[in-house]
């Protein structure tokens, strides 16, 4: 029996249901899962109202996506939703890999300090959705309609007409734009007859969530061919509420109906956890998986995001995390188009950027799957040879692939980025997501990313004060039709010019991570990716980069 008390959200009839002509909305979002909720909250933050439709009246059944990456937490923080996730979630950054009866190696995903968020938290998807629903409920711009199931999509010249089924019968609405975030079995995709092509993996996995008090550390443990589960792989990972995720590879011939029965599951778990382990089964599922995507994510006024647009294998936590990045990428663009500040073709850059990200995620997870479940004798021999060598040889550890865990996609060839004309060192580059760093703001400890939000933003690295001409130029940027709010980053003991927001780079981390020699200016997108950067502030160059970054 599940330990989580599933909330029931009330169906409330909308005035739209009794109109004689369909109500017109600017944005309709199909699916109140993680991606649809994040998109709705982000739209509201940018002053755009939306209707959010969900066919159910509760959150995700089962824990499903549990690993939420640092980039997701940074996006949630921008949306004002990170705090409850951090409070409830289990923070982790290290793990171990085992082969047969011994440990092969241990890893640490975030070896350096000075980041606000950890590499990962584990939190059951039902909590993740619940916290987003609770936040959405505080935002009047979000009209969240439970028990509203999409049954028809009619794409017209200037809008999309959606047919919606409710407990009170069906009704229509018109939307200027539709975000389809309705998951792997997307009704929007099916109703529009769109192909969803890719690779099916012939293997079955058992997920068992168990409730137990256990002494295992808060680490990701992955076994190849452990003695307790002959021939397969196994995963153990802690979630909130003393729930542990156990994942066991069953093989293609396993009978999914039989394997989810407690009398089959419990002996498997006892073999793993020991005969005396005390645990309760919380949730069991047997799944197969596929790697596939739509040919393109924008279909005119209907834009697909998350699993509705692309599906990956679960190794690497790239499903949920990439969906949140989709919403992060899409919403500011849609808001600018709706406000008449950017041409519609800006939305094509969502396709360009997130297709690349989807292909990257599909490639990573396909390779992980091929390593975890080798097909054929030779690939198994090589896999086992890698694992055998990895105990003693460092090079082989880097070949071991139990899932390449999600990191933010660098939008390397984005049409919105302006290429460097100056030389920079370090990890950042145009298209990369911002790096966080500890700073002092009004003498209080804070984080650099708090200055990179609320629209386009600038970071100006200064040494002793800011040249008055530059300061005027930076201030003027804030008055432009698409405003850019700049923060000066100064070393300890310095102050900035009047009228400029300022943070003190007390530990020098920001300067190092941005290669921020004095005079350096970064133009950041609303989704915190680098649009452009220079060694010297030049208004004309900034204007050109801003035009490029907004599809002009």
């Amino acid at each position: 029996m599940p330990s989580y008390a599933y909330p029931t959200y009330a169906y409330r009839p909308s005035p739209d249901q009794v109109r004689t002509t369909p109500a017109r909305h600017r944005v309709a979002i199909v699916g109140a899962g993680p991606v649809g909720l994040a998109a709705a909250i982000d739209l509201a933050a940018q002053g755009v109202a939306c209707v959010l439709l969900d066919e159910d009246n509760t959150v995700s059944t089962g824990s499903r996506a549990i690993c939420h990456a640092k980039r997701t937490l940074e996006i949630l923080d921008r949306l004002g939703c990170a705090a409850p996730m951090m409070a409830k979630g289990i923070t982790w950054q290290s793990g171990k890999v085992f082969f047969r009866d011994g440990q092969v190696f241990a890893f640490d995903l975030l070896p350096e300090g000075g980041h606000r968020f950890p590499a990962f938290i584990n939190l059951q998807q039902y909590y993740f959705e619940q916290f987003l629903v609770e936040h959405a409920a505080t935002l009047p711009a979000i009209d969240l309609r439970w028990k509203n199931r999409l049954v028809r999509v009619d794409v017209k010249a200037d809008c999309v007409r959606l047919g919606i089924e409710t407990p009170d019968g069906t009704y229509d609405i018109d939307a200027d734009w539709v975000i389809a975030a309705d998951g792997a079995r997307s009704a929007t995709r099916r109703l529009m007859g769109l192909d969803f092509r890719g690779k099916v993996f012939e293997d079955r996995f058992l997920i068992a969530d168990v409730k137990m008090k256990a002494e295992f550390p808060t680490e990701r443990w992955f076994w190849f061919e452990p003695p307790f589960h002959t021939g397969g792989s196994a995963l153990l990972h802690r979630q909130a509420d003393d729930i542990w995720r156990i994942d066991l590879q069953l093989g293609w011939n396993a009978d999914p109906e039989e394997e989810r029965k407690p009398e089959r599951v419990i002996p498997r778990l006892k073999a793993m956890l020991g005969p005396n382990a005390r645990f309760d089964l919380d949730w069991v599922s047997v799944y197969t998986f596929q790697c596939r995507r739509l040919d393109r994510f924008r279909h005119g006024r209907v834009i697909f995001a998350g699993d509705a647009a692309h599906q990956v294998s679960p190794f690497g936590a790239r499903g949920g995390n990439s969906g949140i990045q989709d919403a992060d990428n899409l919403v500011w663009k849609l808001a600018l188009v709706l406000k008449g500040l950017a041409p519609e073709r800006l939305l094509d850059s969502y396709d360009a950027e997130r297709l690349v990200a989807a292909d990257e995620n599909i490639q990573y997870t396909t390779r992980s799957t091929d390593f975890i479940t080798p097909k054929g004798t030779v690939s198994r021999t090589f896999r086992d040879a890698v694992l055998g060598l990895a105990r003693t040889h460092v090079f082989a550890r880097r070949l071991v692939n139990s899932g390449r865990l999600s990191t933010a996609t660098i939008l390397a060839d984005s049409p919105l980025s302006t290429a460097d004309i100056d030389a920079f060192d370090g990890q950042l580059r145009p298209g990369a997501p911002a790096l966080d760093a500890p700073v002092l703001r009004d003498s209080r400890e804070g984080w650099l990313l708090d200055s990179v939000r609320g629209g386009f933003s600038g970071l100006y690295f200064a040494e002793a004060g800011v040249d008055p001409t530059v300061a005027m130029g930076l201030a003027a940027l804030k008055q432009a039709p698409i405003p850019v709010a700049t923060t000066a980053v100064v070393p300890a003991g310095q102050s900035a010019a009047d009228g400029l927001a300022v943070v003190v780079d007390a530990e020098g981390q920001a300067g190092r991570r941005y290669d921020g020699a004095p005079g350096t200016f970064y133009l950041m997108r609303p989704d915190q990716h680098v649009a452009a950067r220079w060694r010297k502030f030049d208004r004309a160059r900034v204007d050109a980069a801003l035009a490029r970054a907004t599809g002009h």
Partner: protein
């Protein structure tokens, strides 16, 4: 593209190398031999470290197979 894979004779005493290779497999089952070969390929490929060379070697190895 000029070839990066050296295929002229590289051994000072070719017979010694061949003997070392065959001796290494003496007494092993087919499964054990396959594992030794796989590990050997991984160790040598990492030592070479140049994917162009490895691609060329793989193509040469597959020719006529």
């Amino acid at each position: 593209m000029p070839s990066k894979l050296r295929t002229e004779s590289g051994f000072e005493r070719p017979d010694d190398f061949y003997d070392v290779l065959i001796e290494a497999h003496r007494g092993l089952t087919e499964v054990q031999s396959a594992m030794v070969n796989a590990k050997l390929i991984l160790l040598l490929a990492n030592h070479i470290g140049d994917l162009d060379v490895i691609r060329e070697a793989l193509a040469a190895a597959k020719a006529g197979v």
